[in-house]
C-alpha cells in the first residue's frame, strides 16, 4: 500500500469584541447573571426584527483583508433552520451563498517549512445561548445572554497535512485576530472555537471521505482530536475498510471521538435568504479604508524574523504573536544601534517572563525602545553583565530612566580594566594552590572554580570573559 497522507481543514469560530450584540443593542459581555443581557430581539419574541451592527461587518472585512480574501461588496444574510433550546428563533442568522469574504490565503510556518493555507470563506453569524445544568433542578436551564453575540466563521481549504500545521494555523489566526483587535480570543470563555475536518488517503490518489469533529474547545484539543482521527481512519484504511462521511463528537477527557451523525441522518438546515434583513453593501472606498487600518501582521513578521533575522520559529512566534512585543523589537532593530539577536533575547526571555508572571501588557510598564536599545548596547560592549542586565531591565520595566544612571545606581557596572583584572587573577592564583595544581595537571575544569572565586572578590563586577582569559594566560605561561 502506498504511503498514507492526512488532509485537514478547519472551521474557526471567533466571537467579535464589539460593545453590543450583532442584531440588537444588548451589551456583548461575558459572565453576567443568566438572562440579564437579553431583550425582546435576541430572545426572538414574536414580532421583533433584527438590525445588523455595522461594526460586525467592518470587523469581518478587516479579517478578510488580513487573510488576503476577496471582499464581496454585496453580501447577504441567510437563515439556518434547526430546533434546539439554545436557539430562540429556531434559526440562526448566518451567511450561506454570499458571505462577506470569499477566497483568500495565509502562509504558516511549521517545522521550518512555509505552507500556504487557502481560506474558502469568512462569514458573520450570531452565537446561540448556553444550556446549564444545576444539581437542584432535574431539567436543563437556558441562559440566553450569549444569544446574538457576533461571530465570524473562517473556513479553510483542506490544505493542512498534520496536527502541527493545524496548530500553527490556529495560533496564527488567534494572533491575527488580536492584532487587528477584533476578538479577545479567550479560550476559557469559549470566544474562539473550531470544528475540524480530517480525511486520510493514499498519496497520489484522490482525497478520502472526510469526518467532521465537533465540540473541539481548545487548540490542544484540536491537536489531540486530529491525531486520534488520523489514527482511527488510518486503521480503517489499513485493514481494507472505507471511511464514511460522518460528523463525530470529540470527547477530550476520554480522548476519543464518537459518532454523532452519518450521511443518512445529516442535518437539513434549509438555508434561505433572511427576509427580515437587506443586503450588506460596502462601497469600494470603505473597503479600502479598512485595509489601510491593518498593520503588518504576525504571519508576515514570522516569515521576516525567521528568513531575514535568522530567528528560530519558536522565538519568532513569541515576538510576532504580540503586537506590542513585535513593535518594540522592530523599533529597537530599526535604530541600527544594537544587534537583532540581543534585542530578541531580552524580549523572548526576561520581558516575556515578566509579562507572563504579572499579566501586564507592555503599555502598562515603563519600558520603551530607547531604554531597551541602550541596555542592549551596554550589554554588547560589556559594560554590564548578563545578570546585571536583568536587574537593569527590571528597573527599566518598573520605573524607566537612563540606562547608564541605572547601571551606576545599582552598582552593576562590569569592570573590564585590564590592570584590575590582572591583579584579581594573581590574588586568586596565590590563594588557591590546589586548583592551580589540578589545572596544571590537566584538569582544565578547575579554571571554573578560580573564575568564580575572582568574581566573588570583585563583588561580581569583573568581566568574567576577561577574567577567564587572564587566568588562562597566567596559568599556562607562568609554570
Amino acid at each position: 500500500m502506498a504511503e498514507l497522507e492526512s488532509v485537514i481543514g478547519l472551521e474557526v469560530h471567533a466571537e467579535l469584541s464589539t460593545s453590543t450584540k450583532i442584531f440588537c443593542g444588548c451589551r456583548n459581555v461575558f459572565g453576567e447573571a443568566p438572562n440579564t443581557q437579553v431583550c425582546p430581539v435576541c430572545l426572538g419574541l414574536p414580532g421583533t426584527l433584527p438590525r445588523l451592527n455595522r461594526k460586525v461587518c467592518d470587523y469581518a472585512v478587516k479579517i478578510g483583508h488580513a487573510l488576503n480574501c476577496h471582499i464581496n461588496p454585496v453580501s447577504r444574510m441567510d437563515r439556518k433552520n434547526y430546533f434546539y433550546p439554545d436557539l430562540p428563533k429556531a434559526y440562526q442568522i448566518s451567511q450561506s451563498d454570499i458571505p462577506i469574504c470569499g477566497k483568500g490565503s495565509i502562509d504558516i510556518i511549521s517545522d521550518g517549512k512555509i505552507r500556504t493555507v487557502g481560506i474558502t470563506r469568512i462569514h458573520i453569524e450570531e452565537d446561540a445561548g448556553k444550556l446549564l445544568h444545576d444539581d437542584g433542578y432535574d431539567g436543563t436551564l437556558c441562559d440566553y445572554n450569549r444569544c446574538g453575540v457576533p461571530l465570524i466563521e473562517i473556513v479553510t481549504e483542506p490544505d493542512m497535512r498534520s496536527s502541527a500545521e493545524a496548530h500553527a494555523f490556529l495560533e496564527l489566526i488567534r494572533s491575527i485576530l488580536r492584532y487587528i483587535d477584533i476578538s479577545d480570543c479567550k479560550m476559557q470563555e469559549g470566544s474562539i472555537r473550531c470544528d475540524v475536518n480530517v480525511s486520510v488517503h493514499e498519496k497520489g490518489s484522490p482525497y478520502g471521505e472526510r469526518c467532521e469533529l465537533k465540540n473541539v474547545n481548545s487548540f490542544s484539543a484540536a491537536v489531540r482530536g486530529i491525531e486520534y482521527e488520523i489514527k482511527r481512519q488510518t486503521g480503517i484504511i489499513s485493514s481494507g475498510g472505507t471511511v464514511e462521511r460522518e460528523t463525530r463528537r470529540w470527547d477530550d477527557k476520554k480522548g476519543i471521538s464518537t459518532l454523532m451523525r452519518n450521511k443518512e441522518n445529516a442535518q437539513d438546515y434549509r438555508f434561505f435568504p433572511e427576509p427580515d434583513l437587506g443586503a450588506v453593501v460596502f462601497d469600494e472606498e470603505h473597503i479600502k479604508r479598512l485595509k489601510e487600518e491593518i498593520p503588518e501582521l504576525p504571519d508576515r513578521k514570522m516569515i521576516r524574523y525567521v528568513k531575514d533575522h535568522g530567528m528560530k520559529e519558536a522565538e519568532a512566534f513569541v515576538i510576532a504573536d504580540s503586537r506590542e512585543k513585535s513593535r518594540l523589537y522592530d523599533e529597537c532593530v530599526s535604530t541600527g544601534r544594537c544587534q537583532q539577536k540581543t534585542a530578541a533575547n531580552f524580549i523572548v526571555g526576561e520581558i516575556t517572563k515578566y509579562m507572563n508572571d504579572t499579566g501586564k501588557s507592555l503599555s502598562e510598564t515603563a519600558l520603551n525602545a530607547e531604554g531597551l536599545v541602550s541596555l542592549c548596547v551596554a550589554y554588547e560592549k560589556g559594560t554590564v553583565s548578563s545578570s546585571g542586565a536583568k536587574k537593569v531591565l527590571g528597573e527599566l520595566i518598573e520605573h524607566g530612566g537612563n540606562v547608564d544612571d541605572i547601571i551606576n545606581d545599582l552598582g552593576v557596572a562590569q569592570n573590564s580594566d585590564a590592570a584590575f583584572i590582572d591583579s584579581l587573577a594573581e590574588e586568586v592564583i596565590a590563594a588557591n594552590e590546589r586548583s592551580v595544581k589540578d589545572y596544571r595537571n590537566g584538569k582544565k575544569n578547575a579554571i571554573g572554580h578560580l573564575v568564580g572565586q575572582a568574581m566573588k572578590l570583585s563583588m561580581g563586577r569583573a568581566d568574567p570573559q576577561m577574567l577567564r582569559k587572564a587566568l588562562e594566560n597566567k596559568l599556562d605561561t607562568e609554570e
Partner: protein, 474 residues
C-alpha cells in the same frame, strides 16, 4: 348613532364640538359589546364599563385621533394586552412592547378598543381557522367576513370600531374589506414598519388599514407611515411629486391575465361597471399584460409557506406560548407543544414550507419561486410605465359561506387577484363598487406602482366620489 360615522366625519364633529371623544368611545364600545356575540369580531374587547377609566382622559385632547376607537388585528403586538394570533399557541401571550404602528396610534391619541379575530397566524381567507371561532359577516351572518383580517373588517363594517389595523400578506386586508363592504388599503411593502407585527411571511407581510371611507384610510396611513429604524425593510420612500391623480387622462391598466382568471359573473359585472364609470369621467383604459400573474399563486404559496415555516419555528414552548403537559423528552416536548398549539391550516403551511426548502427540493420549488417573483416585479415595472394604476377584482366571488368545505388548492387559487401585487410589493386598495343579487358587497381593487401610495389613494378617493353610494354602513 355616533358609531355609524366615519373617522373623518367624527373628527369634524369633535372640532365643531358637536360631540365629545368620551361620547364616541362610549357609544362605539357599547355597540361593540352588543354585537360581539353576533359577529365574533374581537378576541379581546375592552368592556364598555372600561371606557370610564383614566385611559380615556386623552379622548378630549386635541390629537389627530383623540376619541377615535381603533381596532387592532390580534397579530399586532400591544404592550400589556394579550396578542394571540388567533392561536392556541399564543392564547396567553402578553407582549412586553408595542408594535411601531400601535405606538403611532397611541401617540395620535387613538383609543385601542380591542384586538380583532382573524385566521390563525393570518393563514386563511375566511377568518375561520382560528382558535377563537369564525368571524361572521355583519351584512349576512351566514357568510364569512373574509380573511385573514376578518375581525377588523367586521368590526368596522358592523360599527364595532371606527377604524382598524389589519395585515395583508396575500390579500388579507383587501379581501375582507371587499366582502364586508368597507375600504381597505395595503400600502407598498416597506412603507409601514413591521416591527411588532407577528411574522407570517416576512417578505410579504404588511400592516394595512381599514375604514368606511378612503379618506379614513389616508388618515391612518399618514399617522403610521413614518420611518422606523427598527425595521430595516422599512423605507418610507414617498414619491410626493405630482401625486395628484386627476381622473382626466388617468391611465388605468386592465391586466389580460386577470380577465382570463375566472371570477363570478356578478363580480366581473360590478368591477367592469366601476371601471366604466372612471372611463366615462375621462380615464384612459389600457389593456396590459403581466404574463407571470398565472404563476403568482404557485410562487406565493411556496415563498409564504417557506418563510412561515421558519418564522413559526420559534414556537417551541420554551420562552413563551403553549407547552404540552406530558412529554417524554426535549424533542417530544417540542413536537407535542407545537402539534397541540397550532391548528390544521398552520400545520399545513409549516409542512409545505419545510418541504419546499428541504434538501433536494429547494432548487425546483423555493429557488424557482423566487425567480418567478423577480420576473413578476420586472413585468409590473414595465406595465407601470404605460399606466398609472391597475384596476382588478379583489376576489373571485362576493361571499364565502361559513362552514363550506373547499379543498386547499381551490381556496389558494382564489387569491389570484390579490397575490400578484403582494409578491411585487405594490400598494393596493379595495373600494366597494357594487353588490350581488343577495346584497353581498363587491370590491374594486386598484393597484399602484411601488411607493406611489399617495397617487393610488387619490385615485381611490376619486372613484369613491364617482360611485357616490354609501357602501360603508352595515
Amino acid at each position: 348613532m355616533l358609531w355609524e360615522y366615519t373617522a373623518t366625519e367624527l373628527i369634524g364633529m369633535l372640532h365643531r364640538k358637536e360631540c365629545s371623544g368620551k361620547e364616541i368611545i362610549n357609544d362605539v364600545s357599547i355597540r361593540a359589546n352588543d354585537v360581539q356575540p353576533l359577529y365574533n369580531s374581537y378576541i379581546t374587547l375592552r368592556s364598555a364599563a372600561d371606557t370610564a377609566s383614566d385611559t380615556i382622559c386623552k379622548a378630549d385632547e386635541c390629537m389627530t385621533l383623540s376619541g377615535i376607537p381603533v381596532a387592532v388585528k390580534d397579530n399586532i403586538s400591544t404592550k400589556g394586552i394579550r396578542t394571540t394570533c388567533a392561536s392556541r399557541m399564543l392564547s396567553d401571550y402578553v407582549p412586553p412592547y408595542d408594535a411601531f404602528a400601535v405606538e403611532r396610534l397611541r401617540l395620535a391619541g387613538a383609543y385601542i378598543i380591542g384586538k380583532t379575530n382573524m385566521d390563525e397566524f393570518a393563514m386563511g381567507s375566511a377568518s375561520d381557522t382560528g382558535f377563537f371561532g369564525a368571524v361572521r359577516n355583519p351584512l349576512d351572518m351566514d357568510y364569512s367576513a373574509g380573511g385573514s383580517s376578518g375581525g377588523s373588517a367586521a368590526a368596522v363594517a358592523g360599527g364595532a370600531a371606527v377604524l382598524a389595523l389589519g395585515t395583508d400578506t396575500g390579500g388579507s386586508v383587501r379581501q375582507p374589506a371587499s366582502l364586508c363592504g368597507i375600504a381597505g388599503f395595503c400600502p407598498s411593502y416597506g412603507a409601514v414598519s413591521r416591527y411588532g407585527l407577528i411574522s407570517f411571511a416576512s417578505s410579504l407581510d404588511r400592516i394595512g388599514f381599514m375604514g368606511r371611507s378612503v379618506s379614513d384610510l389616508k388618515l391612518l396611513y399618514n399617522i403610521i407611515n413614518v420611518r422606523d429604524s427598527q425595521d430595516v425593510t422599512n423605507f418610507s420612500k414617498k414619491n410626493s411629486a405630482e401625486e395628484n391623480a386627476d381622473i382626466k387622462g388617468l391611465r388605468i391598466g386592465i391586466v389580460k391575465e386577470f380577465s382570463a382568471a375566472s371570477a363570478d359573473s356578478d363580480v366581473t359585472a360590478a368591477v367592469n361597471a366601476g371601471i366604466k364609470l372612471m372611463e366615462l369621467s375621462g380615464a384612459v383604459i389600457k389593456s396590459v399584460s403581466v404574463p407571470s400573474v398565472s404563476l403568482a399563486v404557485k410562487a406565493y404559496y411556496i415563498i409564504s409557506s417557506a418563510e412561515a415555516a421558519s418564522n413559526l419555528a420559534r414556537y417551541d414552548g420554551v420562552r413563551y406560548g403553549h407547552r404540552a403537559e406530558n412529554f417524554k423528552d426535549l424533542r417530544d416536548m417540542f413536537v407535542r407543544s407545537r402539534s397541540e398549539g397550532f391548528g390544521e391550516e398552520v400545520k399545513r403551511r409549516i409542512m409545505l414550507g419545510t418541504f419546499v426548502l428541504s434538501e433536494g427540493y429547494a432548487e425546483s420549488y423555493y429557488k424557482r419561486a423566487m425567480a418567478v417573483r423577480r420576473q413578476l416585479c420586472t413585468e409590473f415595472d414595465e406595465v407601470f410605465r404605460e399606466c398609472d394604476i391597475i384596476a382588478a377584482p379583489v376576489y373571485p366571488c362576493a361571499g364565502i359561506r361559513l362552514g363550506e368545505k373547499t379543498s386547499s388548492v381551490k381556496r389558494y387559487a382564489a387569491d389570484i387577484f390579490t397575490v400578484p401585487s403582494s409578491m411585487a410589493g405594490l400598494p393596493a386598495v379595495s373600494v366597494p363598487c357594487g353588490k350581488n343579487s343577495k346584497g353581498l358587497p363587491i370590491g374594486l381593487q386598484l393597484i399602484g406602482g411601488r411607493y406611489h401610495d399617495d397617487r393610488l389613494l387619490e385615485a381611490a378617493e376619486i372613484f369613491e366620489i364617482l360611485r357616490g353610494d354609501d357602501y360603508g354602513r352595515a
